[in-house]
């Protein structure tokens, strides 16, 4: 096991290095002049471009610039964000809680709902329950996140005037900005900060703003989880030990829950990495449509305005999160299923 983890950790360093080189390489496809132009704010300064190139060493060889950049990144300096008009590192911590909050609410629902539906579908294979869940799954799978988000917004906000977009109502946002001394932003997540400050109306308001984003998320992401769980259940239920348990007179519930579901949960661990990827992709669309200023919104906005430091920061961040998630899952899987370690 230790050898396995060591090997995977070494590979992780390799991949992280590759990710940073790739990102930097993408940036370096711009000419030094174009990169220097980001420092220019007025047309009069245009003649300073050669000076800027020299000052920041923008025409140095790739590896020198890469190491210079890496040194700054490791020190926590990610550059200046045009979209947020503040340093990228500082802006990141401003946007991150919004995305984290949404994921904290959505993840348990996705996991529990997916496992429950998948189990149900697998047990009642080829009945109407199975067909309904499967149709739901393939629809959720094919439905673009931004489209589903728009549809929900159109119905619930446009028609019923419920669940407005944003993170918090304007009134409460103004209150928080005006009274920084009475409302401390401990976590940056309004639902939690509301409780910590004893302002339950803020928590409730923030929760109401989370209803549509979290629903969108769950419907779009749950399909994968459910499909894997379903096929896992079907496979496990066809195995000999299930027949043995039946022959010994175990009741159905015991067979389903204690025997089959436990084994069927294994493959779900392997797709958890894909779930994380899906939720990253999903957060872009959800935050853009519901006007929640989180990481996904920031990324989309930066891609439109070509805010390169932000693009690199978020890609680096998401890449690192994704790689570490996959590593954790690999180790977890090797721990649960010893056969993996031998390969």
């Amino acid at each position: 096991m230790l050898a396995f983890i060591t090997r995977r950790l070494l590979l992780l360093i390799f991949v992280l290095f590759g990710v940073s080189v790739l990102l930097f390489g993408i940036l370096m496809t711009f000419s030094p002049e174009r990169r220097a132009a980001t420092y220019v704010t007025s047309p009069q300064q245009a003649k300073d471009i050669p000076k800027i190139i020299k000052q920041f060493g923008l025409d140095d060889p790739f590896y020198i610039q890469y190491f210079r950049w890496m040194k700054e990144v490791l020190k926590g300096n990610m550059g200046w964000s045009l979209v947020a008009s503040r340093p990228v590192g500082e802006a990141f911590w401003n946007y991150f809680p919004v995305t984290l909050e949404m994921n904290l609410f959505a993840a348990p629902i996705v996991i529990i709902f997916g496992i429950w539906l998948g189990t149900l579908s697998g047990i009642h294979r080829d009945t109407w329950i199975d067909h309904t869940t499967r149709i739901l799954a393939i629809v959720g799978w094919s439905l673009p996140t931004f489209l589903f988000a728009l549809v929900l917004l159109m119905i619930f906000y446009g028609y019923f005037q419920l669940f407005s977009p944003g993170v918090l109502s304007d009134q409460l946002t103004m209150f928080i900005i005006d009274n920084p001394e009475t409302f401390t932003r401990f976590t940056g997540m309004y639902t939690i900060d509301g409780i910590l400050n004893g302002r339950f109306d803020i928590t409730l308001n923030a929760l109401a703003h989370l209803v549509l984003p979290v629903s969108t998320y769950v419907i779009v992401v749950v399909a994968l989880n459910m499909r894997v769980m379903r096929s896992g259940m079907i496979e496990e239920l066809s195995k000999d030990y299930v027949m043995t348990a039946q022959a010994k007179g175990a009741d159905k519930k015991t067979i389903y829950i204690k025997h089959a579901r436990r084994n069927a949960l294994l493959p779900v661990v392997t797709v958890a990495g894909q779930l994380v990827a899906l939720s990253m992709e999903g957060s872009i669309a959800v935050e853009v449509v519901y006007n929640r200023h989180g990481i996904g919104w920031w990324l989309a906005e930066s891609a439109v305005q070509l805010d390169m430091p932000v693009l690199m920061c978020i890609c680096l961040f998401m890449g690192v999160v994704f790689v570490i998630t996959n590593l954790t899952l690999d180790i977890l899987y090797a721990y649960i299923d010893p056969r993996i370690r031998l390969n």
Binding site: L27, I138, Y157, G158, C315
Partner: protein, 296 residues
Amino acid sequence: MTEIKEDNVCQPREPLSASRFRRNWAKLRRNKAALVGAVLILMYVLSALLAPVLFTGNPSAPNLINSLETPTLKNPLGTDELGRSILGRIIYGSRISLLIAVGVVSVGIVLGIPLGLVSGYYGGKIDFSIQRVTDTLLAFPGFLLALALVAVLGVGFKNTVISIGISMVPMYIRLVRGCVLSVREEDYVEAARAVGTRDVIILIRHILPNVMVPITVQTSLSMGMAILFAAGLGFLGIGVQPPTPEWGTMLGSARSYLFHAPHVATFPGIAIFLAVLSFNLLGDGLRDALDPRFKI
């Protein structure tokens, strides 16, 4: 998104024959969902091919007097903010979306299959370097990679295809490599090598046919994903640019009129959804018909 398990997928199969084809075809035909998918795809292909017949006039020419009309006999799906027929734009949009899908999987196949074959067959240092590059690319969720690439390459049809195509390459490499590894040690490959067949011939004649089934399935699913990604980029405003009728771009500009002219967003949305759905249904059906060992 949908990844195919590498193990046991590409064991040597019975040779291609008419009876095998008939059996698989019968299986596919019994799968109603796949059939629905195939029919829908056919519809999209036909509307792309017959676009000038189905809709006369220029789908991009503005006609401001008629802007944001609700559906009428003349404009069955209504008009958008510039008074252009939404039906016409959806019909012409199927050309763009299908072309993107075909372009993307071509990039994936052209780069992914050879790299996967070489990586799996030769092993060693070549395999190691190709796999580490693949690891690096796989470290990003697909849409994120496409988004970052398109931001750097610039917007437009060509760059959309290249960006999404590159984000699909690692998936093909992994798929092909896994298959190659499982058939590399088979007797017939050994025999071919023993009689001195060149590596290129072995790869193409003996190994590639074993990879075709998972590639076919993956291609159908990838086309759905390509349409989804392209629409996503278009929606964010960094995909195919207006006035070209691209579904995602149409949806993106319809956002501003979401509440007082919901039909402008609804119909392109349905077009995207059905296109993605049909490729996914067909892909699932193909998987069930061609290889019962696929589980997910």
